[in-house]
């Protein structure tokens, strides 16, 4: 027991993401500081020179994403990271990455928005991450970790997925996951399938030249390319859906939540144990591709779903699309740095189960206690 504990490190989620990237073979990081992901860029600035990699603090997020584009085109494992406002600036570049079929890992440690917002936890960038965000028909593969350990594990996988599908992969965290410290154990042998990238721009000596581009001006070419892209996305949807189910067997109400909210839902389930309330949880680990099938399966038995998010209701739309009208889908959300408490979630569940059922309180009252440094005071 003791020996295994020695391998554990107490790290913030941000640091776990950075270290895992290095272990996964990433040697090129480009970024620009923004709270709450600064521990990531800080860790990279220390570690990259130690492992002979490149750390570059770009002049802006726009520059950072195109530096990542350049590195990816040359065949390197590249990473960039930011939070809401910076990720918004990167959207054009992310569309270009998808259009040029370049692998890249992008970490978004979500903060409250819109605009400059604040620096506390949020999940309001879901639409942007999952529905494209930039222009054109494309998808990011979006992974949603719920602990520092899972951040590390998913960062390994993110590089593999990016390489396998030649597609940008986004790790969608939030301020709480980024800032919180937890024990992390790094996998000894990350699945680094660093395949030879025959398409990469490595100098064309002795071979035909490679072209990396997202521009198809000849009529019809672009549609052909888009059809190919969509085939790739269907393959991703077939192969890569991941989720976790907790207590769903015989559950009356199924909570659906990802990241930080999923952990608070688990707390609510633990709190309710022994009360006779049958509550389950489906936690999507991939937000795109979205676990539609498991939701449809659960919709046959559950009385209702309740989606819990730190947003005004974004993932709830995908849940509704998945289950259509087979099962009612309720929503509970907090916004602008508000984090739901397990008590609030249970109150909502009771509300749904109450025979009146009409006490639909979709947006909570404005919390009275939102003092500085006490973002998480509970609502009585």
């Amino acid at each position: 027991m003791k020996s295994s504990n020695n391998k554990k490190h107490l790290l913030t989620g941000n640091e776990a993401a950075a270290e895992a990237a290095i272990l996964a073979g990433c040697r090129h990081y480009y970024g620009y500081p923004i709270t709450p992901q600064n521990e990531l860029i800080n860790h990279m600035s220390i570690r990259m020179p130690q492992v002979g990699g490149t750390f570059l603090q770009a002049e802006s997020e726009i520059a950072a994403i195109y530096m990542a584009y350049g590195g990816a085109a040359a065949g390197a494992r590249v990473m960039t990271s930011s939070s809401g406002p910076g990720i918004s600036l990167m959207q054009e570049g992310i569309s270009y990455l998808a259009g040029s079929e370049l692998p890249c890992v992008i970490v978004n440690v979500q903060r409250g928005g819109p605009g400059l917002g604040d620096i506390s936890p949020s999940q309001a960038d879901y639409f942007q991450a999952v529905k494209g965000g930039g222009h054109g028909d494309y998808h990011n593969i979006v992974l949603a970790p719920a602990s520092a350990q899972e951040i590390a594990d998913l960062v390994y996988d993110a590089f593999d997925l990016a390489d396998r599908y030649r597609n940008p992969v986004m790790i969608l965290g939030d301020a709480q996951l980024g800032q919180m410290m937890e024990p992390v154990e790094f996998r000894k042998t990350p699945r680094t399938h660093q395949t030879v990238k025959r398409w990469a721009l490595t100098g064309a000596e002795g071979r035909a030249r490679n072209i990396v581009k997202s521009f198809y001006p000849v009529k019809g070419e672009l549609e052909t390319f888009n059809i190919r892209l969509q085939r790739k996305y269907r393959a991703v949807e077939q192969e890569e859906v991941r989720y976790e189910e907790v207590n769903t067997q015989g559950a009356e109400i199924i909570l659906v939540a990802y990241g930080t909210c999923a952990r608070i839902c688990k707390e609510a389930i633990r709190r309710a144990s022994g009360t006779g309330l049958q509550i389950g949880l489906l936690r999507p680990i991939t937000l795109w591709p979205f676990p539609k099938e498991p939701l449809r399966r659960l919709a046959k038995k559950a009385r209702a779903f309740c989606v819990v998010e730190m947003s005004a209701g974004q993932m709830v739309e995908d849940v509704r699309l998945a289950v259509l009208d087979r099962c009612p889908v309720h929503f509970y959300g907090r916004m602008g740095g508000g984090v739901p408490s397990s008590r609030e979630i249970l109150k909502k569940v009771l509300n749904i189960l109450a025979p009146e059922g009409t006490l639909e309180l979709e947006i909570p009252e404005i919390p009275t206690e939102l003092g500085k440094g006490l973002y998480f005071s509970t609502i009585p």
């Binding site: 107490l10 410290m181 397990s342 500085k372 440094g373 006490l374 005071s377």
Partner: protein, 193 residues
Amino acid sequence: MTEKIILIGYGGQGMMLFGRLLARATMLDGKQVTFFPSYGTEVRGGAACYHLIVSTEEIYSPVVEEADTIIAMNQPSYLKLKNYLKPSSLLFLNSSLVKEVESLNEITTYRIPATEIANELGNVVASNMVMMGAYNTIKNLVPLPLFLECLQSSLRGRKAPLLEVNTLALLRGEEYVKKTYLKGERIFKTSAV
């Protein structure tokens, strides 16, 4: 076993270090732990609040809703801590800086003049370790030698000279709480110093 702790104080009173050391020591002791610091606007003099959960089981929510223990270092934090109280909470107040405005009858409260004790030792920044000494004597969350090991590894190089005053502060906190609240019923032997 689950212990949910809220640490509140001014930025600069060392609650971050306190929490990080406690988290690290409990991790090395084989327990699950989450430590969620507040960040950003919490500069020196600002209010800083930290959520620390230690458990033998998997920790779900890292957010403390009802605390088993609250350690409050100053007046503004004392005024805010009511959000986290439940009847069985233990409250550790830095009585040097907290003037209680109302009595919290049901709550077991330990009043430790941490700032005064640290000042006597010659370094006011060690008040956090006075609180740690007092807290751990009551709750026995981590073996003290393990905590000291973590303290030592975080106070290296330039900061090495601070080890002595911090270790002394820990012991003075322990001594104070024993003398004042335990009346010699339980005397823990420490291997330190």
